[in-house]
Symmetry: C2
Subunit: 395 residues, 2 copies
Amino acid sequence: MHCAVIGAGIIGLSIGWELARSGYQVTVIDPAPATGATHAAAGMLAAVTEFHYQERELLHLSVPAAAAWPQWAQAVETASGRSTGFEACGTLVVAADAADRADLSVLAEAQRAVGLGIGELGTAAAREIEPLLAPRLAGAFHAPADARTDPRRTAEALVAALESEPGVAFYRQRATAVVQGERGPTVQTVSADGELAEIEADEVIVATGTGRIGEHGAPGEGLTGLPAILRLPVRPVFGDVLRLRPTATAPRPAGSTVRALVSGQRVYILPRRDGEVIVGATEREDDQAGVSVEGVHRLLRDALRVMPALAHYELVELTARARPSTPDHLPLLGRIGPGLIAATGFHRHGVLLSVAAAAAVRTLLAPAPEATAPRSPPTILDPTHLASFDPWRFS
Amino acid sequence: MHCAVIGAGIIGLSIGWELARSGYQVTVIDPAPATGATHAAAGMLAAVTEFHYQERELLHLSVPAAAAWPQWAQAVETASGRSTGFEACGTLVVAADAADRADLSVLAEAQRAVGLGIGELGTAAAREIEPLLAPRLAGAFHAPADARTDPRRTAEALVAALESEPGVAFYRQRATAVVQGERGPTVQTVSADGELAEIEADEVIVATGTGRIGEHGAPGEGLTGLPAILRLPVRPVFGDVLRLRPTATAPRPAGSTVRALVSGQRVYILPRRDGEVIVGATEREDDQAGVSVEGVHRLLRDALRVMPALAHYELVELTARARPSTPDHLPLLGRIGPGLIAATGFHRHGVLLSVAAAAAVRTLLAPAPEATAPRSPPTILDPTHLASFDPWRFS
């Protein structure tokens, strides 16, 4: 069975590799793999501290995904011979003022109510875990189970793992249309030079993130040919992300991911082992693809409030990318037609949920006939939970 | 007469072109022209508002330089066929709070006392000139004579003007030593591939900015061969400079350069005609060549305090470069030996004073014998005023 995956962000790459190691023939189609949201993402694998009110259904994906990540990262590293940057690190959540602490306290209670592991710690104990925290904070919580990965390295490792599979083809071209034929769907592509190609498949998985999905039959940049009455309301929520490096004399954080609420605004500080510190992220719906002056100012201000030593760091990279978001902040994950599956709309959770997306797509497919001995472990998802993510729910 | 200019920042390029159009044979030596401080500089030509206490001698250079700039820019544009970005724009100087206004008021008085044209304006009148100024400011002053240029375009135009001169050679190599021979000095150079060359000259002009000057005879990266007892105490003062671009819907400033004092910290906002807005600049002596987190935060905070609409701009470039500074903040400009002239240490004033540096070097040289009809206008400098800038004053 041949599966064509349109889009090679972390979602498409993960689906492609999961299918390849489960015995399917796989073609991945993307003119520039891992250059969208994956390129900006910090890589928090934070089923606990990413949980917010009204996103309860997400737990059906996020909790099994978080549980599966250590093994998944290990498998990707073994297959590719590369590091993913996966680290079990825990998250400290700190409050700048009393109102922030009250907010975080209620949120932590909601997180505990759904079974997530987070406890109030006190600021002195938090500073024992992370001595670079500002002395004047109003509260601190700890979610020891949260982990993180490095999305850029993970994507590189997934590309390497995919390319080492015999049944995998990589098309670095843009998919323009999915055409339904008698024998199944065909993906039409165009190269940078304007060369056209057609890829016949048994199943097509649309993992385009914020890549535009065109109106049915309409010409233009977007992917056409999806069912005419289907609405996939993915909108871009832009995020600014900063990358810092320590100067020779600057102190380095101990290693926990730090999330903070500073006068009601969220900021995270994610220190990597090599010294890089990622500070993010804004959530802008202003349709401005460039890095926002206001966004950078706000992130620096709040990060310095929480970890003053970052003042002495070098600001080496500013990145803005769009997250693919939906009206209910839940992904669009499921079958959209014969031979057609959607896996997009993962909003802020794409890196964490990439594993769940891969597992979900596998459960939606007929078992690969040629898979006499698949190397993939049993699926991590209960398929009955996928109903909440039905891509048809807005149509 | 053959002059070799070591260093092709805006100082070396201006000297080279002034000498070339005055009838000298010129060789300019730099592995990467205009990539140092010139690349970061905003290009304020602000003899008035750059004047500070204890820098009175600088007026002997800055006032004639400011007066000469319009004609100089015109001549460079004519010779190169390129725009320099020169604009007569005036400077608004604004105070964020009452203490800032008191500071600026005393400074304006000192500026007027030495004959510079600056007057208190009031914030309402300032907002008539620049409607994007924040409503809540404590004071405003106006220096209508200040101008500006675009250092990157000016340097490109100077390179083009130089390359169009028949008597000019451009060596994109690194100068390693000046060797005194019987017939005059020789500059030794090395290319990126390690190829060595020697350039004989009648006069060598050292315009290396913060490019390292090595100890006499010592090996290493710096330029060697200068007089052994000469001290040229140039130290790097790093500056962070931000470049912003308006989004499609963001309002654009009217056009004056805006300088501000915000709780005692200086910031400038320089809007170019093409929409680019430059925000600068920190002054760091921390020996960190990279862009400073603290610096960017401070500049954004203070610029947004003065011109809130910049929040909606895109942050397109962060640049940090070192200014070549001296203990008394005056340049090192004069003869340092037979056939040897120094022109460096211009600190924050390099772009404005490039014209003065060019004129000064011309006055230090014997007239070019082949210059039957030099195309350069009479020198703008009174040579008796060069004594304050004697490069030997620290030796």
